[in-house]
């Protein structure tokens, strides 16, 4: 019964967001990846059992309320009943049996889903949580990006699961894209492992799920699942150094001579900071500020002028550039395809 309620909730959400892209709702009831699918199946079992219990217990409650209500004028005490051992044992043993069923289903799924070793065919990704953005590194591919996780779809003939090593640069965060899998905390001084195996291409949303300070709310995530060939093409493009366009050389010079380089990396320049996101292929991303704004020229310019405008408390300072320099810098950034 409750599973129907949950499906309904999903439906309500979908109806509300009819005009947004299909995957705007990060609902666990529409999984696209193996762990999330197993979790949904388990949740239906649990909802079924709890729904049954709910109906029985509340039915008894309402029956008591209606049947045993005091009638006006009847002041005699009812026959006093002190208890019954048979009844007590029966409503002890039945719940124990139900708990046993739930526990066995749970234990089985824990062992099925909790990752211990990385299989050789898997793609490995290192996710580093920062206040308040995600660093995403593909150590075997030599690719570094931020906030938007690109993955290959896994096909029945050619499985390509992705294993995520989770690390934190500062405080605890939590990596959560509900349609791919449950969340796993990103704990400093610790390396957690989780895995996903998406079967459907598309963009799927998520965000940090552990309170991590001022801008916990704007530490958004998106996963872009590609056809396997498309993914390889994306990797090839990301491995290129930053494009060099002479027309925007002024902007590049401004970038290289200001504090930008302390925190950001752009391959092919002197900028190799790691405090902020790698900008080598900035324009291949759809958002800036970890999802705080869409990545348009106007937003990019406004972001550099004042990150607080989109994300109050963001650790990137306002760069205090003259309008002219801001234009040139933005023009250069826009070439970082």
């Amino acid at each position: 019964m409750l599973s129907a309620v949950a499906a309904c909730a999903s439906g309500i959400g979908r109806a509300i967001a009819a005009d947004a892209p299909v995957d705007a709702i990060p609902t666990m009831f529409e999984p696209v990846s193996t762990p999330a699918e197993s979790i949904r199946s388990l949740s239906f079992l649990v909802m079924g059992i709890s729904g049954g219990i709910f109906v029985v217990v509340t039915a008894v409650l309402f029956y008591c309320v209606w049947r045993f209500r005091a009638r006006p004028g009847d002041d005699r005490e009812p026959p006093q009943v002190y208890g019954s051992n048979q009844i007590e044992w029966s409503w002890t043993i039945v719940p124990i049996l139900i708990v046993l069923v739930l526990f066995l289903a749970t234990a089985r799924t824990i062992n099925e889903l909790q990752a211990s070793e990385v299989p050789p065919e898997a793609l490995r990704v290192t996710i580093v949580g920062h206040q308040w953005w995600w660093e995403i590194r593909y150590p075997d591919l030599g690719v570094v990006t931020a906030n938007e996780l690109h993955l290959p779809a896994s096909r029945p003939g050619e499985r390509r699961p992705t294993y995520l090593h989770l690390e934190s640069a500062d405080v605890i965060h939590s990596f959560w894209i509900p349609q791919l899998s449950g969340k796993t905390d990103v704990v400093p001084n610790r390396r957690n492992l989780m895995w996903v195996e998406p079967h459907t291409t598309g963009t799927f949303l998520g965000q940090c799920a552990e309170y991590c300070g001022t801008q916990h709310a704007k530490m958004l995530l998106r996963a872009i699942v590609h056809e396997p060939g498309e993914f390889d093409a994306w990797v090839a493009a990301q491995k290129q150094p930053a494009t060099v366009v002479d027309a925007v050389a002024d902007g590049r010079a401004i970038f290289q001579s200001t504090a930008c380089i302390n925190c950001h990396t752009v391959e092919g320049t002197n900028a190799n900071g790691r405090f902020g996101p790698d900008l080598t292929h900035l324009m291949s991303r759809t958002t800036i500020g970890s999802g705080a704004a869409s990545n348009t020229p106007e937003n990019l310019r406004a972001w550099i002028a004042s990150p607080d405008h989109f994300k109050p408390g963001a650790l990137m300072p306002a760069m205090q550039l003259a309008d002219n320099d801001l234009d040139k810098l933005t023009a250069w950034l826009l070439t970082l395809q």
Binding site: V57, V171, P188
Partner: protein, 559 residues
Amino acid sequence: MTVLEEGIARPHAAAERASAWSVAHDWVTTVDHKKLGVMYVASALMFFLIAGFEATLIRIQLAVPNNDFLPPDTFNRLFTMHGTTMVFLVGMPMFFGFANYLTPLMIGARDLAFPRMNAFGFWLFLFGGILLYFSFLGGDGLYGAGTAPDVGWFAYAPLTGKAFSRGNSTDYWILGILVSGLGSTGTALNLATTIFTMRCPGMTWSKLPLFVWLMLVDCLLTLVILTPLTAAQVMLLLDRYLGAHFFDTQAGGSAVLWQHFFWFFGHPEVYVLIMPAFAIMNEIVPVFSRNPLFGYPFMVGATVLIGFISLSVWAHHMFVVGLSPAANTFFALSTMAIAVPTGIKIFNWLGTMWGGKIRFTVPMLWCTGFLFSFVIAGLTGVMLAVVPWDWQLSDSYFVVAHFHFVLIGGLLFTLFAAIYYWFPKVTGKMMDERLGKLHFWVFAAGFYLTFVPMHFPGLLGMPRRIYTYEAGRGWDELNLISSLGVAVQLVGLSFFLWNLVRSLLRGEPAGDDPWDAWTLEWSTTSPPPEYNFEQIPVVHSRRPLWDLKHPEDPDWRYE
């Protein structure tokens, strides 16, 4: 029997009008468990209104997407203070308030074992709370960084470290809770000692009112869990000021260690908070069902079992931190196991109602509301114990909805029941039934309107503790309904406050025993004299007043 009758002989009323100064002096210097109980409950109500105000601001901010009613830091302070206040400054003092007032009266004693320590405990709690709230003024310290704490009521490391929490706001959180925690430890010890040593003649363990049983288990649980929290807080202070590295991950400390310490306190704490609700149910449901409590020995057993099992479930708050599969499996089992004794309690309350003649007075309405809410809370709790599903639900709005069902639909509903039920004993005046019923229906409607829809954004991917969210994720309407529900709750609450004031000023006289009840507190006057009973009563059963009222069919024949 004669001894008991003499015990309830009326003490003489000394009603001379005292000056305001002497009244104030009387309350500040009192060591009387009843006055301290009333002060606990009154302070808790005051903090409840503050925390409710904070929650209202939070819900206004979340009513619509991309709202900028509150800046992020202010929002983070508000949810930190709301959570901390509700747990430490509302839930705990409500527990100690009712335990203080009622325990000696129910066991036929004249006061607690250590009356001065009792007063000391209360003032530690109150000033601990004031210290926490002083952070709004003093938290800037010398650093100009931060006012009230903004690290969440769970204060996860390393967000609480010097590197991430500058200024003194986190220190206020540590010290305020530490001070009030010391008070709680003392009071718990005091109450447990009282129950062990000061029961009146005839009151064996099997004749102890279940309210008192619950309070005993609750006090022992408090003693076991508060000390690790205090220790962890001292360790955190050492980290912050003396360069220790317990939780300092930059220097090899462990963030997970703090979580173990915190939840070893934090989860049993939920049971510490809910046991007074069970205690209140155990008194009110039988009286208004006109039946003795069904299955007394099983209720005692279930209570003790909950006390023990609750000490081994804490890591179900940590299913997502990356514990081993074995640890996750163990804590899933222990967490599900606790549903069994909790279920036994619910079934026994239904068994008590079964075959009774239920009078739906205001206290009984709240208790019935509790049963309905608590079934839902229990079932969503089992869902959270299913580890893989918890990986989706943990830290989402589903959890927020779940524990508000426990603490509002569960605890707060019964606290309202208790206030309506014992108000006549404490003041000698009845509360207004009509206003009370309005309060119940409006507040309960507001509660369900707020917290039923709150489950669903969690299932749709909305995390907790975010100050704003994007439009179009399927969360918008659900959040708006939740926020509107708060307005309804506030209307309900205003009926309660009006009722409280009105009944204090001109409530109907209550008499000694307005509900035709059965435990010893109803055998003395309303309000009871300072010494409670002229003579210490002697009891022969769990319902001494039933025996008195029905000499032809006393309980002790059947127990």
